[in-house]
């Protein structure tokens, strides 16, 4: 067959025979020998089976690839470089398999990772292995079907035929085979129910009926599964001890502590029980990604479940049953293993008592029937009246000592008694003659003293009580103040008394402040009132501060501070005598006037009532409306097609840096505009009087320097290139016209400064410009009337030229010079129409006045033309101003002189109070860097020219 292949016509795919493959091998080898004779580019690499393919690096070696080399036609290409900065090169995990052919891998098969038979629980790998074994055998021994048996034909049996048959007959896993009576009974019942439901289903409400039926079924379901299936199940399929922990096989963490095992098991089962109800409720059908953690967001908050859950119940039936039995098993186990079982319902109920009802007439303060002292010291009846002893001396002695004892207390009596042991005179103390009389006298004296000191006693008692009065106690215990409307009067009396007492006590040491009853702003809070008085005392008389004021420990530092403020305000009010007036109005008004009262932590009952009322009022007020300012972002307004209500206004919050800038610029703007105004008023006189020239010059230069940042402000922040180019073009024009080469350096330097300013000032400038454009009235003289001014000054200082003619000439000159630049600017204008418009409007505002004044000869007023043309002109003048602002441009012939003047002015300016240090600095800087910047300017010029060419 090898030789005669060509002669036969073959239909179909021939079945490869073993011999044939070996024959092909042989041929391949032969070919290989042949190939060696061929030139390398005709050689084809084939594997041992004769297929044309590349070899793996490990078996084929160098015979693969291009011309039997390891390379390719293009040569060896290294891995392409990928910047790790932007897109990180993904790290390739290289393993040996990357370099292996399938054949190689097959050869290495023994070394591949596989489950060993030993640990093959489910027999899957075992089956696989067996199949492989069979395949190997197949290869070895000849069979009817040559080659390996295709997988489609031979399949491992999943279920035995017996199980299949049983299943077909209605048997299910876990059920016994015998046909029980209960089972059939259930089946028949179910059938009946179904039929009944179908019959009773309403046409109008099928949905409802369905819902109802499913519900009823599901309700009945659990009990049914319990009582019917409980009997019939035979072989519940479960693993008694499924391995659920992460310990190694055979490792028993509870080996030496078996008591923990039970606990753990019980906890697990409890978790399982609970998990069915609560934790496992995640939305069905979808898990979350591996990288996301399961958190509260994934919980199914709609815990009531789903329709389809109810429908699924039937299908889940067997597994559920298994689960039931499992639970039962666990329960039984628990019951047997644990000596104690948790009762399902304990008769121990945590008893809760209602708070005691306080009678309405309860008084929070105990009232003693008599004074404290009398109750304490004279509980017994007064001793009987005894006639005084005959001895007058003795009587006097007794009376005196009784008075003494009454005044000074028991101790003195004891002292006397000590003495009386030796002295006959004092026998009456210890029961001698006249003892009765002494007793009587002592009592009388004490009564007398008691009457006298009762007031004091009650006061002291109250003061001590004050430290823990009803309110304080209530505060401490967290009680709600009782409704005291009935006894409000008595309370107020008490409070008054207390206050009075306090002030009286204070008066004994310090000169009274003289607070009348009407001057008590914190009457309703005695404690506070007391503190207030303390405060007053300290304030006016510098009394000693209590080391630990008894209330303050309750108050926080901030409360104290706030209260102090309140006190100060109240004290001031009292001083002015306004308090009593306020007091005459109804107390609610005071409440309103003193919002801090609302903040106090504890309020007396009357206060609470008031507050309650106000709260009710607030509730009634709902919905309450408030209005605030809100700043929409400009882009939002734009997208909503609305005009920004805050357009042109300064943004409220900015980056700190830019705010700093804005502040600096702001002051300068204001300053300069003011000085400008002043100068404008004197300008005419300047024109005439030459003698003032120096003075005005100084002023102007000051103003000039002031104006510099503003000029920068007014500029729209363009990019650096543009700014430099436009400046340079100015320069160039000026150079051609004025033939002043030396002007460049200063100017370019200035240009650089300006661009720097622009860049730094950033957003703020724009907003400022907008603001100016919107809010500044048109007749306000703007900063940029510099150029004509300075020109005039120059002219004036020269003194030999008619200033007005010079001015005119110069302006016309500038006009001419500016022309090409104007064209250039048109581009810019058209490009950024929006911004330029606003910008120009600023320029217009700023320039309108000087413009009109100085160009009167050309009979053009800014107000007359508001067209684009005018805008362009504005732009032009604007740029002119910018250019001529740099002092050296004005007239090159007079450069030295002006420079001298300038420096003079700078010096002078330094002397003046109105020194603007920043502008000063600017000048110094400029003069310093003049030499340097010359070079740079040339460079700039070249660049500009290049730019021209490019354009």
């Amino acid at each position: 067959m090898d030789e005669g292949d060509e002669d036969y016509v073959v239909y179909g795919t021939p079945i490869e025979r073993e011999e044939e493959t070996s024959a092909r091998k042989r041929r391949a080898i032969a070919d290989a020998g042949q190939l060696r004779a061929l030139p390398p580019w005709k050689q084809e690499v084939r594997d041992e089976e004769g297929r044309r393919r590349f070899h793996g690096a490990f078996t084929g070696g160098f015979s693969a690839g291009y011309y039997n080399t390891a390379g390719s036609k293009e040569g060896w290409t290294p891995q392409t470089f990928t910047s790790s900065r932007k897109n990180r090169a993904d790290v390739k995990q290289q393993s040996i398999y990357n370099f292996l052919d399938e054949d190689d891998i097959k050869d290495m098969g023994g070394r591949a990772l596989e489950t060993s038979m030993q640990f093959d629980t489910f027999g899957f790998t075992a089956a696989e292995l067996a199949r492989k074994e069979a395949e190997k055998e197949q290869e070895k021994r000849p069979s009817a079907i040559p080659g390996p048996v295709p997988d489609e034909i031979v399949r491992p049996a999943a279920n035995s035929i017996g199980i299949k048959l049983l299943m077909k007959m209605g048997w299910r896993q876990g059920r016994s085979i015998k046909d029980t009576h209960a089972d059939s009974l259930y089946e028949s019942r179910r059938e009946a129910r179904k039929a009944f439901l179908a019959f009773s289903r309403d046409k109008d409400g099928p949905e409802l009926a369905e819902i109802e039926s499913s519900r009823s079924e599901s309700e009945k379901y659990p009990e049914r599964s319990d009582d019917i299936f409980g009997g019939t199940k035979s072989t519940p399929v479960y693993v008694l001890n499924p391995k659920q922990d992460l310990h190694g096989l055979g490792y028993d963490p509870f080996k030496h502590a078996p008591e923990f095992r039970d606990r753990k098991r019980s906890r697990e089962s409890r978790d399982k029980d609970r998990g069915n109800n609560k934790t496992g409720k995640y939305a069905p059908g979808f898990g979350i990604g591996a990288l996301e953690e399961l958190d509260i967001e994934d919980e199914d908050i709609y815990a009531s479940g789903f329709d389809f859950e109810q429908m699924e119940v039937e299908e889940v039936e067997p597994t559920k049953m298994i689960g039931d039995s499992w639970h039962k098993l666990v329960d039984r186990k628990r019951g047997s293993m644990l000596s104690f079982k948790v009762a399902s319902n304990s008769d121990y109920v945590l008893e809760r008592f209602r708070p005691p009802v306080i009678p309405a007439d309860f008084e929070s303060r105990h009232k003693f029937p008599t004074t404290l002292e009398s109750t304490n010291k004279f509980p017994e009846l007064p001793p009987p009246e005894v006639p005084p002893p005959e001895d007058n001396n003795l009587r006097l002695l007794i009376e005196g000592s009784a008075a003494m004892v009454a005044r000074c207390g028991k101790s003195i009596e004891d002292l006397y008694k000590e003495k009386s042991k030796t002295n006959q005179l004092f026998l009456f103390l210890s029961g001698g003659e006249g003892h009765n009389y002494y007793e009587r006298k002592l009592w009388e004296q004490k009564q007398k003293r008691g009457d006298l000191g009762r007031q004091n006693n009650t006061k002291s008692m109250k003061s001590s009580d004050e430290k823990m009065n009803a309110e304080n106690r209530g505060k401490v215990l967290g009680e709600r103040p009782l409704d005291r409307s009935s006894k409000a009067s008595s309370l107020s009396v008490d409070v008054k008394e207390v206050i009075h007492l306090q002030s009286n006590l204070g008066d004994t040491f310090i000169k009274p402040v003289g607070l009348s009853e009407s001057l008590k702003p914190f009457k309703y809070d005695p404690a506070k009132q007391e503190r207030f008085e303390q405060f007053l005392r300290e304030k006016y008389h510098g009394g000693l501060r209590a080391a630990q004021p008894f209330i303050t420990n309750i108050m926080s530092e901030t409360d104290r501070a706030r209260e102090r403020l309140d006190f100060e305000a109240a004290a001031e009010a009292i001083e002015k005598g306004t308090w009593s007036k306020e007091k005459e109005t109804d107390p609610l008004s005071i409440l309103k006037d003193l919002p801090f009262i609302n903040d106090q932590r504890f309020v007396s009952s009357t206060e609470v009532e008031k507050h309650g009322v106000s709260k009710d009022e607030q509730k009634v007020i709902h919905p309450k409306r408030e209005e605030f300012e809100w700043r929409p972002s400009p882009i939002l307004c734009k997208r909503f097609d609305l005009i920004d209500p805050f357009m042109g206004k300064l943004p409220p919050v900015q980056r700190p840096r830019s705010r700093m800038d804005s502040l600096i610029f702001m002051t300068e703007t204001i300053k300069s505009s003011k000085s400008e105004e002043a100068i404008a008023s004197t300008r005419d006189s300047i024109l005439l009087s030459h003698s003032e020239s120096k003075e005005t010059e100084k002023q102007l230069i000051t103003q000039e320097t002031d104006a510099e940042p503003i000029a920068a402000d007014v500029q729209r922040p363009v990019d650096l290139y543009k700014a430099i180019f436009s400046d340079d073009s100015d320069d160039d024009d000026a150079d051609e016209g004025n033939s002043g080469h030396s002007t460049d350096p200063v100017k370019t330097n200035e240009g650089a400064n300006m661009t720097l300013n622009r860049l730094v000032a950033g957003d703020f400038l724009e907003s400022l410009g907008k603001e100016l454009g919107l809010e500044v009235p048109t007749d306000k003289p703007g900063p940029p009337d510099k150029p004509p001014n300075s020109i005039l000054v120059e002219a004036a200082s020269k003194g030999d030229i008619n200033s007005s003619s010079v001015h005119e000439k110069l302006t016309s000159q500038h006009e001419e010079f500016d022309r090409p630049m104007e064209e250039k600017h048109k581009d810019n204008i058209s490009k950024s129409a929006d911004n330029v418009v606003t910008n120009l409007s600023i320029n217009q505002n700023e320039e309108s006045k000087p413009h009109s004044r100085h160009q009167r000869s050309r009979s053009r007023t800014p107000d007359s033309d508001s067209s684009d043309d005018y805008r362009d002109k504005k732009r032009k003048t604007h740029s002119r101003r910018r250019r001529s602002r740099s002092p050296s441009t004005d007239s090159s012939s007079d450069r030295h002189r002006s420079k001298r003047n300038r420096s003079k002015a700078t010096h002078r300016k330094r002397g003046t109070t109105d020194t603007d240090s920043s502008s000063d600095h600017l000048y110094r800087d400029r003069s310093k860097s003049e030499g340097k910047s010359r070079k740079r300017s040339r460079h700039h010029k070249h660049r500009r020219k290049d730019g021209h060419k490019n354009r």
Partner: protein, 308 residues
């Protein structure tokens, strides 16, 4: 079940009408359903992280949009039906192309779940309200995914946002309905005193219907801020649920946590009709802009179409 005076209302009736279709397909709770601008189509979104486009009248499921990584809570479609925006648990807004079903852009910025999202009139801005106590506006026309405006004056989660031509109105759990007038630069705060679950604008634009978590709907006059009416009877205590007015502004509609739908008379606040629509919480109701047709969605995974 339907009481008298319910003529012209979609819902379950004794003779005919009622439920027109059930849109099944969501695997899990449907959190919102919305008619498109002309009411020919509707969009639903749910816990299965998908958006679904339906024709509720035929009824047919047209397309599924899946890219969300968490549940989708709200969806809105542009007036030209070209773009969608959706939001949900993944703290981003998804800006979709309707026909291709691809996400054009994702707007980041919210620090927490996003509860509600709306396009503005020109479909150029997306305004979203989130659990992070902020309302944020995103520019659809720029490449930037960052918000162009952040409003964070709320004290608590913002549940719902609606837009008019010039205003952004948002209701928050802090009990306020805040109106941000872009034209005036004013923020008007109406404090209702109860957490606001959902707000809805009347068709004439003069009133706001605010669903509060004390199971009360409150109708506010927008110009004065005064409370016009309160509607009670349903249950709304813990879930994010929608409310709306009918196309004629004659009735107020809201779902209930027990699966009922309630219709109130706008003026005298009497319950005109109530019927059981779902077996579980009714998360969303949407009323057809022109016809007497209504969509309801529920946690039971269905969207139901109700017609007269």
């Amino acid at each position: 079940m339907a009481a008298s005076g319910a003529e012209g209302l979609p819902g379950r009736r004794e003779g005919g009408g009622g439920e027109a279709a059930v849109l099944r397909g969501h695997e899990g709770a449907v959190l919102a359903v919305r008619f498109n601008g002309d009411g020919n189509y509707c969009l639903s979104c749910g816990r299965d992280r998908t958006l679904r486009l339906w024709n509720p009248h035929r009824p047919a499921h047209i397309k599924t949009y899946s890219s969300h990584a968490r549940e989708v809570r709200d969806v809105h479609v542009t007036t030209d039906n070209a773009k969608l925006v959706s939001c949900g648990g993944d703290r981003q807004l998804f800006y979709w192309d309707v026909s291709s079903g691809r996400v054009i852009r994702k707007f980041r910025g919210h620090d927490s779940e996003v509860n509600s999202v709306k396009f503005n009139e020109y479909n150029s801005v997306v305004v979203s309200a989130g659990y992070d106590r902020s309302v944020r506006a995103f520019d659809c026309r720029s490449q930037s995914a960052e918000p162009i405006q952040i409003v964070d004056s709320f004290q608590d989660s913002v549940m719902s946002v609606i837009l008019t031509k010039t205003e952004i109105i948002a209701g928050s759990v802090d009990g306020t309905v805040r109106t941000f007038d872009i034209r005036m630069g004013r923020e008007v705060v109406d404090n209702l005193g109860h957490p606001v679950n959902c707000i809805s604008l009347s068709n004439d634009g003069n009133c706001i219907l605010a669903s509060c978590l004390d199971s009360t709907l409150r109708l506010l006059d927008r110009s004065t801020g005064e409370l016009l009416q309160e509607y009670k009877g349903h249950t709304c205590k813990s879930f994010k649920m929608d409310c709306c007015l009918t196309n004629t502004d004659a009735h107020v509609v809201s779902g209930s946590e027990d699966g009922f739908i309630f219709f109130w008379d706008l003026v005298d606040a009497s319950v005109v009709s109530s019927f059981r629509a779902h077996s579980s919480v009714v998360t969303s109701v949407s009323y057809h802009p022109k016809d007497a047709c209504m969509l309801t969605s529920s946690v039971d995974g269905t969207v139901r179409v109700w017609k007269q």
